[in-house]
Every structure is written in C-alpha cells, then in structure tokens.
Subunit: 337 residues, 2 copies
DNA sequence: GTAGTTTTCCAAAACGTTTTGGAAACAATT
DNA sequence: AATTGTTTCCAAAACGTTTTGGAAAACTAC
C-alpha cells in the first residue's frame, strides 16, 4: 500500500541503506544508482514517513503554542493575527505548529507537561505572560526551549519579544494631555498579566509628567473583551464626575467603551475620548476610527517563531531580548486634531 | 537523561516487554511486578515517547487544520472561536491539532499534500469550502479522512457540517420586509465560496417571497473583512438611490458597513438598516447592537472535530451530513422593534 | 507421578527511517 | 607484485515503542 524504502530497495535489488543515501544525495552512491533510485522512488510515489524520521532524529520538528482562552467563546482577532504570523514562519522554516487551547490554570500546565514529557514538540511559544507564570517557571526548570511574547514579574532570563507598553501608554497620555483632557479613566487588564502593570504604570507616569494624577478609582479592570470594555466603561461613566477620556488597554475593550458611550447618546471623540492599544485591523474602521497604539503583531509572530527555532537548533540569536517601541496612531476617537 | 522502558527494565531486572505490558495493565504480569514497575516508573519519571508510540501504531493521533488566510493581516474572530472549539474537543479526545496557515491556492494544496504524504496527520478539518474545491477533490481522490465545515458545488459525498445559509438569509429578508424596507443592498462574499450563493440566493428568494426583487446592481462583493464591508457599503451608498437596508453576509463586513454609514452622518437603524451573519461576540456590543444570524461556531468546531475522529477510528457517525438551522438575533441595527 | 492448566515471563520482530563501520572491487602508485 | 587509494555498496545497530509466539515454572487434578 504505502511505499517504503524497503520496497524501493527490493525493486532495484539494492540495500535500504543505499536507497536512503541515494535520496539524500550522499556521494558514496554512484551516479547511475542515484538516478535509478530517484526514478523508481518517483514512479512508486515514495514519500518518507515523517514519524519514522522524527523518531530517528529524536526531534519532532514541531513547535507548540497553547492559546490561553478565557471562556468558551474565545474570539480574539489579536490571536488570529499572531497565529498567522507564527504559522507562516513555521512552514517556511520546515516546522509544524501544534496548537492547543486552554484557559489558564492547572489544566493548562498539564497540557504543557504532557507535550514536554511525550517529546511532542521541540519548543514552545508562550503568549500573554503573567507576573507569576507557572508555564515559564516549569519550562525554565526543565530547561525546555521556549520564547515568550511578553515578560514576567522577575527573572526574565529567557528569550522574549515584548513591546514597550509603558512607552506606548506615555504616548497616549501625552496625546490626551495635549488635547486638554485632565479627567481620565482607564480600563486595565487583569493585574496578574505582566503587560497590565507596564501599560497602566506607563499611563500614570505619562500623566504625572504633565502634572495630572490618575485617580485609582478611575482604573477599572476588564477582561480584554469588547463586552468587558462595555461594562467597565459604564462603571466609569456612572461616576459622579465621569471621565472625559477613557484609556482602554486593548482595542477590543476600547470598542466596548465606544458602544457604552454611544448607548448613552454621547458622541465618542466629542463628549468622551477613547483610546485603545494593539491597532488590530478593525480599529481603522470603527466609528469614529480608533486612536490607538500600533503593535506589529503579525511580524512579532514571525519573530518569536524564528527565535524559537534558532534556540532549538542551537543557533545563536542576534538578540535574546527584543523590546519594540510601539507607535501612536492618531485617528478620530479623541476628537479632530 | 530521558528515561525509557529499557532503563526501567534494566533497573528491575526484567524485560522491556514485561515493563511495557505492566504499564498497560495486561494480565500476564503478576501483581507484584506491576506494582514494582509502576513504582519505579513513577520514581524515575518515565513518560512514553509519543513519536515511538505513533510510529508503532502507524497513527499520528493528530488532526490537521489549515486556515485559509487572506493577506498577511489575518484577523478573524470567527476563526479563533472555531479554533477553540476544535482545539478543546481534540485535547479531550486525546488528539493533537496541527495548524497551518496559507492563502488559498497552489501553496495551500502543497501543504495538504505534504501532510498527507508524510503521514503527519490522520485527517483534516477543511474550512471555508469553495464551489470547486481542490482540497476536497484531492482528499477524496486519496481517500484521506476529512470533515468539512461547509459544502462544495457538486458531489457532496463526504461528511460535513454546514449551516442552512439560505434559511438564515430568508429570516433576515422576512425581518426587513416586515419592518417595511424595500430598497435593499447586499454585501456578498467572493462567489467562489459555497456559502456565498446559498446566502445571497436565500436573501433573494426571501425577498421575492414578499414581492420584492433584489437588484443585481445592489449586490457588491466584499472580502469578508471590516475594511471590505466599509468599502462596499460606500459603493452602495454612493448610488443615486442608495439602499435603506444593507445586508452583509458576515458580521465583520456589517461592522464596516456601519462605520461607512456613520461616517456620512447617517444613523444606523434609523437612516439605514444593517444586518450581519455569524453573531460573533462583538456583534452584541456594537452601536447599535447588530441584528444578525447566529451560528454556534464554537460548538460546530467541536462537532466537526468529533466527527473526524470517528471517521478516523472507523466508528460510524450518527449523521454524516449535518445542516444546522441558524437563528435570527434581532437587536437594534434595523431600528427599534 | 503424570498430564494438563495457569501464571508469569521474555526474545525477537516489527514500525520506517538514518548512521556507523566496515568490506569488496577496482584503479593507481610504488 | 605489493601497497595504497578510491569508489560503491551494505549489514547491523539505533531510535523507543508494542505485539507475537512461545517457554519455563508453578500449580491442579487424577
């Protein structure tokens, strides 16, 4: 049924070794034999059994990505773009991508362990890092190759790519202050996430630089979805002195905030300003278009993937720690300039 | 370094066979030996090498999913939800999920071939089917297991799950007619996609039922992204007699249409009605909330995954062809009730 | 004590590759 | 003619499992 090296060998009356070496173009096989082997292999429709090759190589040529989903309806455009970036780079470098999904927690860690123990993958890409991250602790302890998108609370002794969230938020702060906003609310992510602090702290620092303090009562915590942004924006708007600008820590929550504002008959960009973070493609076509901070997510996917493969193959990386400066994208959600 | 059966066997002075059988709880191993094996295995931290097991079983226990991405910035919440549905079901049934990304075309087919020939996966989930679909032709010809989400133009002799797009669109048509709309525009997907016709035809039929004809000039083709919806809505609105209702064939394009309307100072739901299709989570929190047709994408992911695994294992399926009736979700983008 | 049965074990083969370490055949050099 | 070198090949081992087909040892029944 399925053609193996042995079948080819039997057919041409040579050994399996010779067939294998002929196909790999070793120079201890005569040109005539090579020609014959290639021809017969082609004719019989031979393709090597990847599993056998991998067992022999003791490499799975596969990288693992476990997406942290929150709730069953996981629907985040950010991750689909990251996935495309990782996936395309992986195929171009000859690696498979093994994807799993799990909400953070014990089950998630079990999946990592299962993959490591069963040698199913050669390394991981860890995304949405947390301040105390069991995943990176585990992988570090096992000395298992991985590259993270994001950093952890302490001891970042592993390769990562991260964006300078504080810098991005300072840009936002400066932009808002320049436009005259002083009463500012913020929708932050779960504080266990590393990027929560860097972004919120960046915002606070940026405002302080201009003599404005961010009231802690005006920092709400959302779940990074549009629905979460909607709810938290409502909290903010229900206050006695509602903020005139809402800084959401990702675009999805910013969209929710915009809806909350509009549902009250207020106009985004006139009555209340809104900003986001990430610059997902949808941000360009909301009404009004969202002022946000751009992260090259697709490219980042490619970068982490490439770094991981270098790590796996023992090729030195140009730079183990990459921190990208995100850029402010001014659109119209904070009013016309 | 890594513990194998042989290590355990050496340590306790038994054969590899016995250790293997003890771990699998065969009854030709004495209780004492079993106990000992388990204990030592535990102590040495043994985990079987998945690659070796798979080679021996001649099964990869892996299912393949190749996402058709359009352009580098692939950012579709629909697919992340589907992925979560497939992924969670796969781990719960002990399968790995191999994900790749490619834009439709020759390269895409190459990826399928590579996976099939190298026996890297035991089956595929094919998504976003086309009327003439090289992928299903290929898999059918190779008699390789797969389950599709969606149908093809002719000869649907393979297991699939699909939604009744025509039915969904008829609901939309009826809803709009009931609300008094007569001048209707449509933003359709690429007509090569199977669901393009079923949806547009369904709309047309639904309108005809109520004595309204869908003007072909009022059917534009969008690329299923928000940006595409924005552009095509503008085309529609630029007409001499612009439609008073825009029916988009997915939610993302509906969002774009809403922005286009709002950018002209018009009010969605008052001046122009908009409808979508899919009911992605974001649809609930746009302004106004989007009237659309609900597809249980997460569940569908689980279903196709389960069907595929049955197909792979030769277990008969309850039903090889599942066509789901989507339900109309009335919100506010066509005006208050 | 013998024949049969049950319990417990294992060597060897198999899965499909790649690598190792020669060996045979022939040619070139002294 | 003996030595060295080159070309071409391959048997065997290895990767880490599981399965097959016994076989030895220990009981059971008469």
């Amino acid at each position: 049924m399925v053609v193996t090296l042995k079948d080819i060998a039997n057919r041409i009356g040579k050994s399996v070794t010779t067939v294998s070496r002929a196909l790999h173009d070793y120079n201890d096989v005569s040109p005539e034999t090579k020609e014959l082997v290639h021809q017969v292999a082609e004719e019989m429709g031979y393709s090597p059994n990847t599993l056998a090759q991998r067992l022999q190589k003791r490499q799975s040529d596969t990288i693992g990505l476990i997406l942290p989903t929150f709730g069953p309806r996981f629907s985040d455009p950010f991750f689909s773009e990251l996935l495309a970036g990782i996936g395309n780079k992986a195929v171009s470098l000859g690696y498979d991508l093994l994807v799993s999904t799990s909400s953070p927690g014990e089950r998630e860690l079990q999946i990592y362990k299962k993959m490591v123990n069963g040698r199913r993958v050669d390394g991981f890409i860890v995304v949405r890092t947390r301040k105390e991250d069991r995943r990176v602790e585990y992988l570090l302890e096992k000395d298992f190759p991985f590259v993270a998108f994001g950093r952890v609370g302490i001891n970042n002794e592993f390769p990562y790519v991260d964006e300078d969230g504080a810098y991005g938020m300072r840009s936002i702060a400066k932009h808002l202050v320049t436009l005259g906003f002083t009463n500012i609310g913020c929708i932050a992510p779960d504080p266990q996430l590393t990027f929560a602090s860097s972004r919120v702290d960046g915002l606070r620092a940026g405002l302080t630089d201009h003599g404005i303090t961010l009231d802690e009562d005006y920092v709400c915590i959302g779940d990074l979805t549009q629905s979460g942004g909607y709810k938290q924006a409502n909290c903010l708007l229900d206050k006695l002195h509602p903020p005139s600008a809402i800084v959401a820590c990702n675009d999805l929550m910013a969209f929710g905030a915009m809806s909350a504002i509009q549902d009250r008959g207020l106009i985004v960009g006139e009555d209340v300003a809104v900003t986001g973070f990430d610059d997902i493609p949808m941000a360009e076509h909301t009404h009004p278009p969202l002022t946000t901070v751009h992260q090259p997510v697709y490219q980042i996917g490619g970068m982490v993937c490439e770094m991981l493969i270098k790590r796996i193959q023992g090729v030195p990386m140009d730079d183990e720690h990459l921190v990208l400066k995100p850029s402010l994208i001014v659109r119209k959600s904070c009013g016309e300039k």
